[in-house]
């Protein structure tokens, strides 16, 4: 496969190296001459020291026979133009753009870029994963399926004043301990739960909705 990479920053540089290693034909365009020759010293003469936004140089770099054009510069508007030129002027079958501003994703997709890579969105996604949503907190993973989950019972939780045996705990999930006033005790089927308790459970991702239902309730949704 012939891949034309535009932008020799960190992303473009590592991408080019990886692609070369996996045996693809690669050309990298980097408009900064110093940066271009620095990369060429390492990866060989597959670096074109020109601006990939210019139609002339894009053509010279072989855009018309590229299977994929990956626009990975640090500027969204450049990546958009590179992909549009590749697609409409050089008939490249697949275009990939790096999008830095998540707000641009919709526009780029609408304007015909085939695939979007958004570093901002990715980091945002993993941060949001770590923030407790409705008081369910992931304490750790036992394996790829099972998680240790903590539920912090607030006033209004349907579990308060009830015992685990009275709750409809989802299959495949088990409540095993409770932390009350800093003291951890094993949770028995008849232990009564109170506001402020931290209930520790083990279960898969598919149990979470049920757990939230039983331990957090609708009151905490707001």
């Amino acid at each position: 496969m012939f891949v034309l990479v535009v932008g020799g920053g960190k992303v473009g540089y590592y991408l080019t190296k990886e692609l070369v290693q996996s045996g693809h034909e690669v050309v990298l365009m980097e408009k900064d001459r110093n940066r271009a020759s620095q990369i060429a010293d390492e990866v060989g003469s597959i670096v074109v020291p020109h601006d990939g936004c210019e139609g002339k140089y894009l053509g010279e770099a072989g855009a018309n026979r590229a299977d994929i054009v990956a626009a990975v510069t640090g500027d969204d508007e450049d990546n958009l133009v590179i992909c549009q030129m590749a697609k409409h002027h050089f008939d490249v079958p697949r275009t990939i753009a790096r999008v830095n501003n998540p707000k641009n994703e919709e526009l780029f997709r609408h304007l015909g870029v085939d695939e979007l890579i958004s570093p901002t969105r990715m980091v945002l996604g993993s941060i949001e994963q770590d923030i407790p949503v409705h008081e369910l907190l992931h304490l750790g993973a036992i394996d790829s399926e099972l998680q240790i989950i903590e539920a912090h019972l607030q006033a209004g939780s349907p579990a308060i004043g009830r015992s685990p045996s009275e709750l409809a705990i989802p299959d495949g999930c088990s409540l095993f301990a409770v932390v009350r006033d800093g003291v951890a005790t094993a949770l028995r089927p008849d232990s009564l739960l109170a506001a402020g308790d931290k209930v520790i459970a083990i279960g898969g991702a598919e149990c979470e909705a049920g757990l939230r239902d039983q331990l957090i309730g609708a009151a905490a949704e707001e």
Binding site: C53, E54, G55, K56, G59, D75, D76, E77, D78, L80, V81, Q84, M85, H88, H89, N101, K103, L107, H110, L111
Partner: protein, 160 residues
């Protein structure tokens, strides 16, 4: 007419003042407030600091319902992106982008953006002055295939 100008460089400022003096409602957008120093005290339009490729900024600046959108920053790609936001998301009918790379200018005309190319414009003027044959490439290329249906009515010049 309501006219949005993105980029208050020399061309942007001259056009802003001229169109304002002719009685149009003009809004100029630029990333740098210093760029607005180019506008004289006579200018009665609005100068808005912000990113002209950003849809929210353009909406806040009042670009919704504009008749004309001119993307005239120093960056070809910024102009291309601003122009496409104007056509696709703000549904402005008459959109012009300054694109100095002749290949890109022609390509975007085919995508429905009217383009002005300073490169061919200047070189042709100089060739004409030297009594040589011009390049033959038009420096203003009207949009070929409108981006969306009602852009077609923009060619009915009358109401402008």
């Amino acid at each position: 007419m309501k006219i949005i100008i993105v980029g208050c460089g020399r061309v942007g400022a001259v056009l802003a003042e001229g169109l304002d003096a002719a009685g149009h409602e003009v809004i100029v957008v630029d990333l740098s407030t210093r760029a607005f120093d180019r506008l004289s005290g006579e200018f009665k339009g609005q100068a808005v600091r912000g990113d002209g490729t950003d849809e929210d900024t353009l909406r806040r600046a009042g670009a919704v319902g504009a008749d004309v959108f001119l993307a005239l920053t120093e960056g070809d790609n910024r102009n291309v992106m601003a122009a496409q936001v104007a056509v696709e998301n703000l549904e402005i009918e008459k959109v012009v982008a300054k694109i100095n790379d002749p290949v890109r200018a022609a390509a975007y005309a085919e995508l429905g953006i009217t383009t002005v190319c300073r490169t061919t414009m200047l070189s042709d003027s100089i060739l004409a002055f030297l009594k040589h044959e011009p390049s033959g490439i038009p420096s203003v290329i009207a949009a070929v295939a409108p981006h969306h249906e009602h852009a077609a009515s923009a060619s009915a010049e009358g109401k402008a």
